[in-house]
Amino acid sequence: MKETGSIFHPRFMIVLVVLATLILLVPAVGLNFGDPITSSTDQYYIDHSQVETGANNVVASIVFDYRGFDTLGEATVLFIAVLGVAMVFRRLYK
């Protein structure tokens, strides 16, 4: 067993990265930029958000109303980060 760490050769890693990038290039063929295939949900938001939420900023109405639950979860993620950092450094700041 060698003690130098990584078991893969860097050249092999580069091959992996290139192949993975090729796989991720598939969407560039399958999708159209600037012309979404359908826009049913988003058109609904644009048409109705002012009536339903009263906010002029459609993004704000999505972030805080239609998808407000995601925002709660994401605030929780930030809370977790704070707790985690505080826990890791818990000896240092009291």
């Binding site: 796989i23 991720l24 598939v26 969407p27 063929v29 399958g30 999708l31 979404p36 295939i37 359908t38 826009s39 049913s40 949900t41 988003d42 609904y44 938001y45 109705h48 109303d65 239609y66 998808r67 407000g68 639950f69 995601d70 709660l72 979860g73 994401e74 929780t76 993620v77 809370f79 977790i80 980060a81 707790l83 985690g84 505080a86 826990m87 890791v88 818990r90 000896r91």
Partner: protein, 523 residues
């Protein structure tokens, strides 16, 4: 009261979050009520989960719309039948996962409160633990893909932060960092796949996407990303490397909860493969991919476990190995999904076996981690080479460990045997070689646990452990809860299978019901 019952799926997330957000304030002004607070919080959130699950099993699928006025459907008519808000869709499979998470999380809290009594940073520990529970609940009950990603991140981050709780000279931070990096890459790949689906169907709702699903190359890319990233979260070979690293350094109670957290990844994998892709795709290929992942996990997990000297690392490799059984059982069902005859003959049973193994694994692996944690709590030693003769002083712990070890090795009458039997017999009908591999792995598991049991509890009383006492009663209580389920599920497996597992398996196989529950019968 009715108002509360109607909003139970929302309270499922809101209650643990509410309690967790108050913990820093409590830590500042009244640190003495921490323990009571966390037990209360965990009890209430587990209670909501159990009530939700029971409601699902008695009344059918719950669809809950966040932010809507009372009584509005998930897919209103004026939107053209598109669910445009975040919804929770809790069907049989979700309810089953909720139940398992609720039981384990409550048992672990009792254990954790007692075992971490002397340590600092409890306020963060408890808050993170509650958030981990909330993350699991959210992952298994959401019906929205981006919401799933958010809860996946909550789950990963809270898990990683909890792993780094004990310092152990930086080694815990190492395990946490590896776990976090691996899961972050996985999470971002899941998000990329969600973006691919969104680009084609302009929706994030699972049921709506499932109803529109078509066979395109872009969808295959998304499927591959989902399978690999969620298998990585679940800890399947060859993406398992971070799992033993993280589990072996985490506090024992936390590890028991992280078993359930990794199974939430398994839930996501099954949900996406069956519900989203079940109709359109060539399920034989995907089924065989899942089976191969399962067989690799079983074999490599158990063979890596045998020479381990660190007891928690050994258990972590067994967690990888047991994940293989679930993947095998469900993978066989997936491979024969398009064949109604084979499905009725053995596919259904394989699926039920795989799903039954999920809840069984949560119970007995949780029990094993708690028992090993109790030993480490008293002795402070991880290495099997230094243990021995603890059975003289820790009789209860020994009994619990023995029950867990027999259950994981598939010895009747404990619960591991029931699910393993279902997997063996149905997989034998599919492909005898796979079944034989599963049995050999089971034998190796037994051998490996013989080693652990012998070197921890058997033998003469060693002089350095003469003063070791039994662990506190609250820790015993946590283990007792799990033991009751291990024995109970083993003694009446038919009740569990008929009442919990069959609805869950039906919910996965019949994705039309899932779509109808959300979109209504019109589509």
């Amino acid at each position: 009261m009715n108002m509360l019952l109607d909003n139970m799926p929302a309270l499922l997330i809101a209650v643990p979050l509410f309690f967790a957000f108050l913990i820093p304030i409590i830590g500042k002004f009244a640190p003495k009520i921490h323990d009571v607070w966390i037990i209360l919080a965990s009890f209430v959130s587990s209670l909501t989960a159990v009530i939700t699950a029971v409601t699902v099993f008695t009344k059918g699928t719950i669809v809950y719309v966040f932010g809507a006025a009372a009584g509005s459907p998930a897919a209103p008519i004026d939107s053209g039948g598109i669910p445009f808000r975040i919804i929770f869709t809790i069907d049989g499979f979700c309810a089953f996962m909720l139940l398992s998470a609720a039981i384990v999380s409550f048992a672990v809290v009792l254990y954790l409160v007692s075992s971490q009594k002397e340590r600092s940073g409890k306020s963060e520990l408890y808050a993170l633990y509650l958030l981990l529970t909330a993350g699991i609940f959210g992952m298994v009950s959401t019906g929205d893909l981006f919401n799933f990603f958010v809860f996946l991140e909550i789950n990963s981050l809270a898990g990683a932060a909890l792993v780094s709780y004990h310092r152990k000279g930086g080694i815990a931070a190492e395990g946490a960092l590896k776990y976090l990096i691996v899961n972050t890459v996985g999470g971002l790949m899941v998000l990329f796949g969600i973006g691919l689906l969104y680009a084609q169907y302009n929706s994030l709702n699972m049921a709506f996407i499932a109803s529109q699903m078509s066979f395109t190359t872009v969808n295959i890319v998304a499927l591959v990303l989902f399978i690999t990233a969620l298998a990585m979260k679940a800890g399947s070979v060859p993406f398992h490397f971070a799992t033993p690293d993280a589990y072996s350094v985490a506090p024992s109670g936390i590890t028991a909860a992280m078993i359930v957290a990794s199974q939430a990844g398994l839930y996501g994998l099954f949900r996406i493969v069956f519900t989203l892709y079940g109709d359109i795709f060539n399920t034989v290929t995907i089924g065989w991919v899942v089976i191969i992942l399962g067989v690799l996990s079983m074999v490599i997990g158990v063979t890596m476990a045998i020479p381990q000297k660190d007891v928690k690392r050994l258990l972590a490799y067994h967690a990888v190995s047991q994940t293989g059984y679930m993947l095998l059982g469900v993978g066989v069902a997936l491979a024969v999904l398009g064949d109604p005859l084979a499905m009725a003959a053995f596919g259904q049973t394989a699926m039920e076996g795989g799903l039954f193994h999920i809840i069984n694994h949560a119970m007995y692996k949780g029990l094993l981690f708690l028992a090993v944690g109790a030993v480490i709590y008293r002795t402070g030693v991880w290495s099997l080479n230094k243990m021995g003769g603890l059975g003289h002083n820790m009789k209860w712990t020994m009994i619990f460990f023995l029950i867990g070890a027999l259950a994981i090795a598939g010895i009747p009458p404990f619960n591991g045997f029931a699910s393993k039997l279902m997997i063996y017999e149905s997989v034998f009908a599919f492909n005898p070689a796979l079944s034989i591999i599963a049995m050999v792995v089971s034998i190796l598991t037994l051998a490996s646990f013989m080693k652990v049991f012998h070197s921890m509890f058997m033998g003469p009383q060693l002089p350095e452990y003469a003063e070791v006492k039994e662990v506190p009663k609250l820790m015993i209580a946590g283990m007792v809860i799990l033991t009751i389920f291990v024995i109970g599920f083993g003694l009446v497996p038919d009740l569990v299978v008929n009442n919990l597992i069959t609805p869950a398996a039906d919910a996965l196989i019949n994705n039309g019901a899932y779509i109808t529950a959300v979109l209504g019968g019109g589509l």
